[in-house]
């Protein structure tokens, strides 16, 4: 047997390169390229009256200045609406350069191309744009009121209105012994990868071919979109995602204006052109997420069983909807988490505002959904005087009930059907890890010391690994080197390592011989992209299938050459050998030589495959009828539905009685993403996700003023957590294999951040004794809530007024 690779915490193959300055990110390429910079709108809503670039053309080093009118044909038409949906009745997208109206601060209006970025920015400063300002819509309340419009032809600012209902919610609600209504509020945050976006394009005039590089989560998507925009045959466009410094969702959107304009300019000028997004540009012209207002009405019985769940969501989609309504669809479906809702209705309105557009950010609508559901669970527990975990477990979908079909349509247009999961086991593990049942003692002790502590919990289910498909291609060279390619891209998930682990295991080769390429349309033209925690499931499965094909072919060829049956062969460390008689063997390199009958010997090894080498059967054609030359194989994986991972988090927080400072004392995670390919990498994903969740729960918000200016568009003012703000994460895993794919895996990329706001709200609520309905929460916010609570404007939890008369009851103090 080859050393076990699958499932092991193998060190990453990409690290030695990345640790020694060998990474090649977008801006590390193209030292000879011209630089592009943009004049962007300083106003949130305005008509463009005039653009005067006369002072800019003379700046030495300026090569070209372009406005919307300069853009020919489809380059000047609106950017594509990537994911149409029947309920998205009023989808709108921007132009690569604004035509006559701008709808958010940061929208590009003029592109300057110059010899370097400094000069391009000098020129931008000399371009005078005259605007006629229009009324501005900022915030969900203003959008919902619909008095002022973002787009004149979109009544009420409603891009989409969607309703899904399972069962008769009205009847069930009317019959429910108890009902509660919660109004909830989640603010905006953003992906904020450390590397912004960037595009670099070269035009080969002789061959009429475009090569472009983009810091993207989908090189195939960019390639297709750019070819369509520029009217080029697909065969004449290639797109490569180099090393990418984080994505978290924002880089799945495409084509960004710059992805169209930079290649267009490179062709026009016949010179390489590059644009690297700076941090301010990333804040005001990339994308944000999360902002929602929610109203949950829930009906339940005396035991806390859900009978009816009626949810309304108002989702802020920003100025445009290039990515459709994926985020609110995910919120409205994934909100259900591990629970059976009895009956369920979810209605949402996706609303325009004069702010940066809203597209998926790690978790993609799930953190908001989880927040709604988990706040509801805590509210039911408080209403009935039950332990919060007890209410949750009474509503769990049980392992024996899997697969569980919610009767809803998921984000991929397919049924929301959970494949597997053991929620009671996850909860037991979590309670043991955090010491749920002993918390009352801790609280008593803390209170005796004059400290305030609280315990919170949050559970989620995450649809991962959505289709439509991914592919894997494997080719073994005569040296024994194994080349693996898949089309989706990498932004730090360790794909070079985990895919190599799969191949090493399936094929029986050494890790060091496996070389993985991702996100290069020259190597794999068919792919979708990296989003929705789908890479391991989709490309991992495709690569495993491809490896099985290559293995079968290698065994066929070797069996022929060694004159044994292929059943008697095994592959160990790159050598095909007879089981029990390992001396009878040949390397995969030699098999590769034999797989490709040659006329010309290019080296010593190749001689064995030439016509006069005497190694063939004269009665057979050199390449058998059903075979192809070369030791290679390809396969695609296309599942009927998503896999559903799940997890449960708990946190203990301390709130300062005087300053209202909030500190996370412990953060515990139970995570089930099916079979793990590399637990070290899964854990890293969980850590990173939780850290982003903590940012979203306690620090990060997009501070727009009423005129639509983003006041905190820098790392100085937007409080992304440093190491000092992120707690140590205690994580444990459950591995409930997915029955849907050959490896039993589920996605893990987004999980960590999904429940964090729910968990922290739950813990602060527990510490303070009054409900927390709005996140993120700063010490100022908490201080203000305390004041209003003291004034009687916010009610106490029932728990506070209820003594220890009920059972089973959550331990208070």
């Amino acid at each position: 047997m080859t050393t076990q690779m699958f499932g092991m915490p193998i060190r990453r193959k990409e690290d030695p390169r990345l640790l020694t300055g060998g990474g090649r990110y977008l801006d590390d390429l193209g030292h000879d390229a011209l630089a592009a910079a943009f004049v962007r709108s300083p106003h949130a809503h305005a008509r463009i009256v005039d653009i005067d670039a006369s002072d800019a053309i003379d700046v030495e080093g300026v090569v070209g200045i372009y406005v919307h009118e300069d853009l020919p044909g489809r380059v000047g038409e609106p950017l594509p609406l990537l994911i149409p949906h029947p309920t998205l009745t009023h989808g709108r997208t921007g132009h690569a350069l604004a035509r006559d109206e701008v709808n958010h601060v940061g929208e590009p209006i003029v592109m300057v191309v110059a010899t370097d970025r400094y000069v391009a920015e000098d020129a931008c400063q000399r371009i005078r744009v005259t605007y006629a300002q229009l009324p501005v819509v900022v915030g969900i309340e203003a959008a919902r009121a619909g008095e002022l419009l973002v787009h004149d032809d979109v009544p009420g600012n409603v891009a989409a209105h969607m309703l899904q209902e399972v069962g008769d919610v009205d009847a069930a609600m009317a019959a429910a012994p108890h009902t509660l209504t919660l109004d909830l509020d989640i603010e905006r945050s953003a992906c904020m990868p450390m590397e912004g976006k960037g595009v670099y394009a070269r035009w080969d005039r002789d061959r009429g071919e475009l090569r472009m590089y983009s810091s993207t989560q989908t090189s195939t998507g960019v390639r297709a979109a750019v070819a369509a925009k520029l009217g080029l045959p697909l065969a004449k466009v290639e797109c490569i995602a180099p090393d990418v410094g984080g994505g978290f969702g924002v880089k799945i959107v495409h084509p960004w204006p710059e992805e169209v304009l930079v290649p267009w300019a490179a062709i026009l000028l016949g010179r390489p052109v590059k644009w690297t997004e700076d941090r301010r540009e990333h804040f005001i012209s990339a994308a944000h997420e999360r902002g929602q207002l929610q109203r949950v009405t829930v009906g339940f019985d005396d035991e806390g069983h859900l009978l009816a769940l009626d949810v309304k969501l108002w989702h802020d989609n920003g100025a445009y909807t290039p990515y459709g309504i994926i985020v609110p669809i995910i919120t409205s479906t994934q909100l259900l988490g591990p629970y059976k809702p009895g009956t369920y209705r979810c209605e949402f309105w996706s609303l325009y505002t004069n702010t940066v557009l809203v597209t998926p950010y790690r978790g993609a609508g799930r953190p908001q959904g989880c927040f709604a559901m988990e706040r509801t669970m805590d509210a039911i527990a408080d209403e009935l005087g039950l332990d919060r975990t007890e209410v949750r477990s009474r509503n769990f979908i049980l392992p024996t009930e899997m697969p569980w079909d919610h009767g809803l349509l998921f984000q991929d247009g397919r049924p929301l059907k959970y494949d597997s999961g053991d929620f009671p086991a996850s909860l037991d593990k979590l309670k043991a890890l955090v010491g749920w049942d002993d918390f009352a003692d801790h609280r008593r002790q803390a209170e005796a010391e004059g400290r305030k502590v609280g315990l919170g919990i949050g559970c989620y289910v995450e649809g991962t690994g959505v289709g439509p498909y991914e592919g894997g291609h494997i080719q073994i060279e005569t040296s024994g080197r194994v080349n693996v390619s898949t089309g989706l891209t990498s932004q730090g998930q360790g794909h070079e390592t985990v895919f190599a682990q799969i191949v090493a295991q399936e094929l029986g080769v050494r890790m060091e011989d496996v070389h993985v390429t991702t996100g290069d349309t020259r190597k794999m033209a068919y792919a979708v992209g990296t989003f929705a925690s789908r890479a391991a499931v989709m490309s991992g499965s495709a690569i495993a299938l491809a490896a099985r094909n290559v293995r079968a072919k290698a065994l066929r060829i070797a069996a022929d050459a060694l004159e044994v049956s292929s059943e008697d062969l095994e592959i160990v460390d790159g050598t095909v050998r007879v089981k029990g008689a390992p001396a009878t063997s040949m390397s995969l390199g030699t098999v590769s030589v034999l797989s490709n009958p040659l006329r010309y010997a290019f080296d010593e090894a190749a001689k064995a495959a030439t016509q006069f080498a005497g190694t063939f059967d004269p009665d057979k054609p050199p390449v058998a009828d059903d075979e192809e030359p070369g030791l290679e194989g390809k396969d695609f994986y296309s599942p009927t539905q998503a896999t559903f991972a799940n997890g449960m988090h708990a946190a203990i927080v301390e709130t300062d009685p005087v300053t209202a400072e909030i500190r996370i004392l412990r953060y515990c995670v139970i995570h089930d993403c099916g079979t793990m390919i590399n637990p070290m990498i899964v854990e890293g994903q969980v850590h990173g996700g939780v850290a982003q969740g903590v940012g979203g729960a306690l620090y990060e918000r997009m501070a727009y003023d009423e005129s639509g200016q983003l006041l905190n568009a820098s790392f100085m003012d937007f409080l992304m957590p440093y190491a000092s703000e992120v707690p140590t994460i205690e994580a444990d895993h459950l591995e409930t294999p997915s029955p849907l794919n050959p490896l039993g895996i589920k996605g893990a990329g987004e999980a960590g951040c999904i429940p964090v706001s729910a968990v922290i709200a739950s813990a602060i609520e527990d510490a303070e004794g009054f409900p927390i309905r709005r996140m993120p929460i700063s010490p100022n916010d908490l201080w203000e809530l305390r004041r209003r609570h003291a004034d009687g404007a916010i009610p106490s939890l029932h728990r506070s007024s209820r003594s220890s008369r009920m059972s089973p009851k959550e331990p208070t103090a």
Binding site: R11, R12, E14, D15, P16, R17, L18, L19, T20, G21, G22, G23, Y25, D27, D28, H31, D55, D58, V59, E60, D116, Y118, D122, Q125, R126, C191, M192, P193, M194, E195, G245, G246, F248, D278, R279, Q491, G492, Q493, E512, M680, I681, E683, G684, H687, G688, G689, V690, A691, Q692, S714, F715, M716, M720, Y722, A723, S724, V726, T728, I729, G752
Partner: protein
């Protein structure tokens, strides 16, 4: 016309010792050290995450001290010695990995502890931690966390970076012991 820039910029000859090698280039006075290293010298291992001194991705060692190269002009680095991530592997206690790269104890520790994901912030952490361990060779876990609290990472949640700092301290000791006769 608002004359914010001259029609042609005056160029300055800047000579710095980068990773032990004297390098020169003619650059405008406003050229940031980060851009000088990345674009004039084509040493792209130093990354730029914010260009306003907050993220630490651009940290290099100037005469051994960690500095944010986006907050320095290239001309102010004249005659100073700069170490970038490309130069860390030339330290006496660096060792060549099986894959061929020479790595100092901090780089080695990051590889062992999964201290990086996308790798974009990493050069800034590596230079910062390398300088920190020179002064504080055996930090506690809290001190290690404190030491990296001026650098932003959006991928790792910092936990494995803290671990990497502690492991790097161990590797330094191990390698120092190897040096003993």
């Amino acid at each position: 016309m608002t004359d914010t820039t001259p029609a042609t910029e005056t160029l300055h000859d800047v000579t710095v010792t980068v990773n032990g090698i004297r390098r020169s280039a003619s650059v405008p006075g406003r050229r940031l050290l980060s851009d000088f290293l990345r674009h004039d010298l084509e040493l792209t291992g130093t990354h730029v995450g914010c260009e306003h001194g907050v993220c630490g991705a651009c940290t290099v060692l100037v005469d051994g001290q960690p500095m944010r190269s986006c907050l320095m002009f290239a001309v102010t680095a004249q005659d100073h010695a700069i170490t970038t991530v490309e130069g860390l592997g030339s330290a006496p206690d660096a060792r060549v990995a099986p894959t061929g790269e020479s790595m100092n104890p901090v780089q080695q520790a990051f590889a062992e502890c999964h201290g990086l994901q996308c790798g974009f912030c990493t050069p800034g952490f590596l230079t910062t931690v390398t300088a920190y361990l020179e002064e504080n060779p055996s930090p506690t876990s809290e001190e290690a966390r404190e030491a990296i609290s001026g650098n932003l990472c959006r991928c790792t949640g910092y936990q494995n970076i803290v671990k990497s700092v502690l492991r790097a301290a161990e590797i330094r000791v191990e390698r120092a012991a190897e040096e003993q006769p």
